[in-house]
Symmetry: C2
Subunit: 555 residues, 2 copies
């Protein structure tokens, strides 16, 4: 008998299966905060639900609780003061492992149905989640809604869909009949059980606490594993809301809710002990290189899926839409003040300048014109505030100050602090643009997270493509771009990205931006360069998270 939630969501799953096979546009969760989709009172309800969480203890009944911890600081300056349960990590691991038996027993279809039901519930919570994401990360409202809720849910569903495709390909049983010439055949019945590998830990980041957490969370969960969510210390609330909803749906369906727990840890050592626990078999991580490298070096008992730092770059060779190119780049550099792992950091421009439909533009022209384009785009405060959001961390403010000092290159466009009428304490910053030479590798060839970009003067286009390839291969990148009107240049850049293994956006001049990655169509990260060892999402992201255990006997 099929699981009722599998039946309920079968049509959605079929559409999702079709989407991962065609990778055309598809999304089941409306990215517009529309009353028609979400309900007439959803916006107000969600806001109130969020506000009701503030200044309180966030109750989740988890095993091994030892105390409470809070301390999130909103980049918008509002007071959050939410306290979360602190639980003994070993107790969470043991409870998760114990809960896996019932999760295995419900089978692939049951797990898939329940996971989609969870996503459905999270979707209904989109406004509440969006406020939580906005106020912990500094994302502006629209981005917090879209990336924090429907787009994150898309990525979660994408992982569930790949997981279903792989698990459902394994037959539950087979009758094996081997001919023996004139003798009767050998006949065996075989059963194939899909078994999760163990407890998974998902470590969230401070800027995209749902979008970067849901893929690993749902990939591990759908494939039969328990999951412990370890959020970034400044973006706990979106994770806590998510975990609570998951636990509710699990319990409703007779699954031990301790299958999914929240781990709030005061000390790094707690996390280190958790992720090296022998029972932990997968770790999903988004964040900096230092801890990422530590995880890869120390979590030898687990498969580590890591998204780390990179140096995203764009080669600008030529264009027939100069203004549109500048507008597109201005948006890319401004969006969430460059605090996206996909934002371009290095724009590689030939020393001799570029050809455009508007005539030749020197390197200095390009610098000045891009600076003007960013200034123009952010001229209206309401536009600026709705795009920039607030700066998430003091470290990023420090990096902006360092860049502003001129230590990293000539300041072509200075960063400005904007006032936010609604949130007077918000740390809002416009992008800073620096000009430097290709030889100044120390400046631009490491990730400088935040609204800091370099216009790098390169000998010529060929050198720019070679430099891009080297940057990606050695320092990693999630995105690369090229602007050129010459097919042979685009071909050369394409071949370079095949070797360095990075996704390429070509001549973006409209309403799509290099830093945007659309679930079910764009693979986020290739898994083939140092910026990420896995992609959202593909078969490799799920296939190694479960094992097939067979048994066989004569019949």
């Amino acid at each position: 008998m099929p699981h009722p939630l599998f039946d309920k969501h079968r049509a959605l799953l079929d559409a999702a299966l079709q989407a991962i096979q065609t990778r055309t546009y598809w999304s089941p969760y409306n990215e517009m905060p529309s009353p028609k989709t979400y309900g007439e009172t959803a916006a107000e309800d969600g806001k109130r639900a969020f506000e009701a969480l503030l200044g309180k203890k966030f109750e989740i009944t988890q095993p091994g609780q030892t105390g409470w911890l809070g301390g999130e600081q909103s980049p918008f300056g509002i007071t959050l003061d939410v306290q979360y349960p602190v639980c003994d990590a070993q107790a969470l691991v043991e409870a998760g492992q114990k809960a896996m038996a019932s999760w295995q027993a419900v089978g692939c279809e049951g797990r898939t149905g329940i996971c989609i039901e969870i996503l459905d519930r999270l979707n209904r919570q989109s406004f509440e989640l969006a406020h939580a994401v906005m106020m912990t990360t500094g994302q502006a409202w629209m981005m917090a809604f879209q990336a924090g809720a429907p787009h994150a849910q898309d990525r979660g569903l994408e992982a569930v869909t790949y997981a279903y495709r792989e698990q459902s390909f394994v037959p539950a049983e087979a009758l094996w009949e081997k001919p023996q010439g004139k003798n009767p055949p050998l006949v065996m019945k075989k059963h194939f059980e899909v078994v999760g590998r163990g407890v998974g830990v998902v470590i969230g980041c401070g800027t995209f606490p749902t979008w970067n957490t849901y893929p690993g969370l749902f990939a591990a969960l759908a494939t039969g594993n328990a999951v412990i969510v370890k959020p970034h210390s400044n973006a706990i609330l979106p994770a806590a809301l998510t975990v609570r909803t998951i636990r509710t749906v699990l319990a409703e369906n007779g699954i031990d809710p301790d299958l999914v727990t929240l781990c709030v840890a005061e000390k790094r050592e707690t996390t280190q002990a958790l992720v090296t626990n022998p029972v932990v078999k997968s770790v999903d991580y988004t964040g900096g290189n230092v801890f990422g490298r530590w995880l890869l070096d120390h979590c030898r008992q687990a498969q580590v899926y890591a998204e780390l730092a990179g140096v995203n770059n764009i080669v600008i060779d030529s264009t027939d839409a100069y203004k549109a190119m500048l507008r597109n780049l201005a948006f890319t550099l401004s969006l969430y003040s460059g605090q996206m792992c996909t934002t371009s950091q290095a724009l590689l421009v030939p020393a001799g300048g570029i050809e455009t439909e508007d005539g030749h533009k020197s390197y200095d022209d390009v610098c000045a014109d891009l600076a003007r384009a960013v200034e123009g785009f952010l001229a209206k405060p309401e536009v600026a505030l709705s795009v920039l959001g607030a700066v998430q961390s003091a470290d990023t403010l420090g990096r902006i100050a360092e860049a502003q000092s001129g230590a990293l290159g000539k300041v072509v466009l200075a960063s400005k602090k904007l006032e936010h009428p609604e949130f007077p304490q918000a740390e809002v910053r416009t992008p800073i643009l620096l000009a430097c030479d290709a030889a100044d590798e120390k400046a631009y060839m490491e990730e400088r997270f935040g609204p800091i970009s370099f216009i790098v003067k390169v000998a010529d286009t060929t050198s720019a493509i070679a430099l891009s390839e080297r940057i990606v291969a050695t320092h990693g990148a999630l995105t690369a771009g090229i602007y050129s009107v010459k097919p042979e240049v685009i071909d050369a850049m394409t071949a370079a990205t095949w070797r360095s293994k990075v996704a390429l956006s070509i001549n973006l001049t409209g309403g799509v931006f290099v830093n945007q990655s659309s679930a079910f169509s764009d693979y986020h990260g290739t898994g083939g360069n140092p910026a990420a060892n896995a992609s959202y999402a593909d078969s490799a992201f799920v296939a190694n998270r479960f094992r097939v255990i067979q048994r066989r006997y004569h019949v």
Copy 2:
């Protein structure tokens, strides 16, 4: 235009795709050395082709050749004296990397067609390969033919088929059309290129130089990678024949043959430098724990697929077919003198004995009866010689001698040296059976490769199942077995194997043996316990060997 070899093998591929989905019995390569299948003169031709190789230089024109190396010692005592080209490992890596471009360009269908063509050619070479396998490994003729040729080809095709399934699921291109309400949609064309991750190294073992090499070799090759085959120093010839055939087929199809090369290395350091080369992105390894551990610890730039040592075990609780059970076990322990990675090493028997259709049998009865069954089975020399083969390594002879001394447990059945009329210098040995207590963990709880098995006295069935689970979880196993007439015992053992993640054979009393693993149906290894971190073959075995590199632009 589809690749002609893809067209040629399309029907076979479709059948293989069906087989991996149903995992019922299927094999395209006849396991019987039948003249009808292989040709009336195939047996004689194959033997002559093999003999023509002896005492000569094995020519393969590879880059960076610096000399010649041989030294294989036949366990059957015949003189091989074949010399193989020694090539600079860095030259092989560079040539492989260079050759990958044309291999990528031929696309998934081209690679799949060419890989199946290669397997077809290898199949036609089955007799020659079988002699090479027999004379380098000590396998008896029939096993050498079956496991060395058609069964190995099955496993190769299985890997190619999974690789095709995953690669072909990635669309070559997509038209992405995102609605924008009343405005025109955003439209982008996207291309998705499947790109191999880099150079793969496949390290063979001394006992199954094709069966354990073809899965990794064909998985890496089919997914777009160059492959360097590093055979065991005593089983080079089957690998060399394979590589030469692959290179011939590649060249016929316009692919740079340096895509696949043979690496014969005199020193371990050469192999260590090869596998840690930054360009090497996958390592497939079958062999002992020491070097396996080294690979896992040091090849951090590569995905390592490792099949290591284990302690296969069987719980004997009860049976309604005592004689048939003993016969089955006698065959399992005798086949290739226990030199299979799937042979049972520890038989766990309750101290109080077992119930059978023939009445109660004490622990001592079971020991004595199994010893008699082995003796009886091997009583006829022609049967014994055709099953046992010869002992592959001096280390195994040493382990037999150690066991024979009584140092590891009470000798229930001593190993005997048999004379081989055809090969007077062959080292043929019958199995040794030892009795020991569950507490004697030092004796039985590490792999003692070769015809050495322990009948371990365990308190009761419950303890036996718990012990089996602990053995598998801590020391690994590729196979586990249970004999019981009680469904609740079988269920308990089944649940234990789900936790410890090992394949289970239940009440084998007929013509299937726990150490046999049938391609397209049995998953060889689960990848979930210390004996192997991957399975032959499943999606996880192929999905992480390639990356998808996308590019997108407005249309």
